[in-house]
């Protein structure tokens, strides 16, 4: 019950970044919103994995953490290459 509410909270934190992702005046706003969405996804998966007592969800969270790290690196590297 408490864990369900916590998972809902992390999901709200993930979705709250979406307006900034779409509206964000600069490119830095968009990539930081994407970073918050990635962290929120990892947190949601960890809380759900604890609630359901499923080990596989922790591994899925690990994959999401690795992918969101690569996203930011690609943003900075591409921007430097373009300018």
């Amino acid at each position: 019950m408490i864990l369900d509410l916590l998972a809902l909270g992390t999901l709200v934190a993930t979705l709250a970044a979406l307006p900034r992702l779409i509206l964000g005046p600069t490119a830095a706003d968009r990539i930081l919103a994407a970073q918050l969405a990635g962290t929120g996804t990892v947190a949601t998966l960890i809380v759900l994995g604890t609630g359901e007592d499923t080990r596989g969800l922790f591994d899925t969270a690990l994959v999401f953490a690795a992918l969101s790290a690569v996203t930011g690196l690609a943003f900075v590297a591409l921007r430097k290459a373009r300018s």
């Binding site: 992390t10 809380v47 080990r55 690990l62």
Partner: protein
């Protein structure tokens, strides 16, 4: 013992979720990109580390602990590095050549 660990874990996870919600609020409402980045990076690493620690306390198994520690370390490292890199590329774009 395990009941105490369960309660401690739930408390830690609640703190982490509150930190994440504060980060979301900051990203939503703070005025400039650099201040939004400031709100994000603190709550990012601290919030997810607290959630992973709480989950390890609630779960209590060693194989799950390994995945959770890897997850928290990866997100904390990449969050700190990305915050620095994004801020630098944003500031250097604003400067006149």
């Amino acid at each position: 013992m395990s009941a105490v660990l369960y309660v401690i874990g739930l408390g830690l996870m609640t703190c982490g979720v509150v930190l994440l919600l504060i980060a979301a609020l900051g990203v939503w409402s703070l005025p400039s990109a650099v201040s939004r980045l400031h709100a994000l990076t603190k709550a990012d690493s601290a919030g997810l580390s607290l959630i992973a620690l709480g989950a390890a306390c609630v779960n209590g198994r060693l194989d799950a602990l390994l995945a959770l520690v890897l997850c928290a370390v990866l997100v904390a490292l990449s969050g700190a590095t990305m915050g620095h890199l994004i801020a630098r590329s944003h500031v250097s774009e604003d400067e006149p050549e």
